[in-house]
Amino acid sequence: MKLLHLLYDFCNLYGDYGNILTLARALGESANIRRMPLTELSGELDFTQYGFIYIGSATEKNQRTALEFLRVYRDALKAALDNGTVILATGNSFEMFGKELTEASGETVKGLGLFDFTVTRSDERTVTDIHAVFSGTKAPITGFINRCSAIHGVDSPFFEIIDGIGNTPDDKREGIISGGFYGTHIIGPLLVRNPELAQYFAELLR
């Protein structure tokens, strides 16, 4: 099983790498992690060779840069998803996969457009612990949100929030699941704090 840690050196704000290490451990010896830095996003890349792709949180500036680099590989990422690759995007990295992103200044940029949701950014940051329910685990999920944006237009959320905030301040639904794509704004080592969730992904990949 080949796992890709996409932009491990660029989208790495909150110890996010713990997620992919935990998943690799849950998968056992067959799993190996390929760490791809920003500078390797050039030329032809085949993402279908990976069973799993992970990408973590970035500063807003890094996220915009990452988006421009990934734009070139939009179809390659889509091909991987269509081919059965599971993608987990945590923190603000999942915002890149939507239709468009509007900055606090009003500037709007196109997202990768794999999904229909849109993102609005503000000058204020929201930080909070969250507790949530996920249909794939028995125990509730615990995590932390640290963001300056809201997500609009998601039909199929990842989590139902018990305590904390969802995609928008008054939405109790957080993140997105669509096919093999899992996006959540929870930062940091989510799979470490929620071993059942790590097991869920391990099962999915077996």
Binding site: K61, T65, V127, R193
Partner: protein, 450 residues
Amino acid sequence: MRMFLAVLVCRFIHFMGGLFGRGSSLPGLVALKIYPSVLAHVKFPPAVVAVTGSNGKTSTVEMTAHVLKSVGKKVIYNREGSNQIAGAASLILSSCTLTGKVKGDVVLLETDERYAKHIFKYFSPTHYVITNLLRDQLTRNGHPEWVYDSILPSIPRGTTLVLNADDPLVSCFADAADKTVWFGMDRQPFSTEEHIGVYDDGKYCPKCKAPMEYEYYHFNHIGSYRCTGCGHKKAATDFTVTAADLEKAEIVINGEYNIKLAFSGIYNIYNILACFAVCSLIGVSGGDVAQNIGSYVLTNGRIQRYRLGVNEGMFLISKHENSVSYDSSLKYIAQSGADCAVIVIVDSVSRRYETGETSWLWDIDFELLNCDSVKRIYLSGKHAEELAVRLSFTDIPADRITVIPDIEKMTEAAGAEKYGMLYTVTCFSDKDKFLSKTEPLENVCGGVDR
């Protein structure tokens, strides 16, 4: 008239606060209610120094206050915890005459990274020191670039910025300044050509995001860099650590001023250097600065020592949610080389707020403890199990790690077996939970990275 009232009320509450032991920002809060723009009408002395940044601002302010007082200046300065606008107003107004003139030669302010822009709406510092921007309390601060954006609007026209040239993000502030003075450290024997640490915030340029090249690193992303894209690079420094010998615990500034260190950490060198730069800029001679920093270092920031059962120990204060602070303690332990055991306690993440957020544990370079001299590692506190998971992803042999969440039970175990030295690494928020179980010993010279 409003000034008269604001100062009077501020002084009165300040006085009453002394009697009742109330918080230090209340007088300022009330004064600001009476006269919101009061700080804009205060007559400041010729030198108003502000210090901000992630790490080292408290140490820099205290050291600078000491040096300035030693050369006969009257210094008005704040202490930890009163670095927001109400705190600054309390400090300044309670030091004013009733007509609003500050009774002192220098106002020296430690300002919170997020609140500086509110404080400097009303008055401008003459010198504004920015020490570094590191991952620190990300639960409230977001990330270093967010803090940068928060500090940027606080930089007033006419202020001289005193910047750490070795920090690529801090260096960007120069673009917004009328005048910049740079401090930094030349390459030293302990500098490395490769980056060391779990994450590398200097890998890409803060301006254009192209890859950066480093000639050397002092720690984390602090060192000599050059962007391969826009050319952003370490500036030529006006105040420079030209030599630093960690074994002899001695540094040389500008090739001629020798200063003894109490604690052989790289981090404190920057606090000393920033202090040297500021004092020089407001007219104290290099010789006087060096001599008085020396006397400060010898009497302050001592490392607490204790006895626990059969062991003697050293308490290495480290800030939770601040991986650089932890790394500095872990490096100290690794470099000391003598046989030891290490206690790491994470119980309350913060004194100020409740959170279960422990992603910062993944930014700490625990691999540093994977050395033969470290015979045992005790993990304790509410987050002991999370620490254990984190350490399970290092190459530290599992049989060297003991997990005892209950702090009292842990101290019993750690005190029962003889080790050469028993280091404890934890934060202010968990300090007393541990030290109350030990017997104090005379402290040794040492510094705290605050």
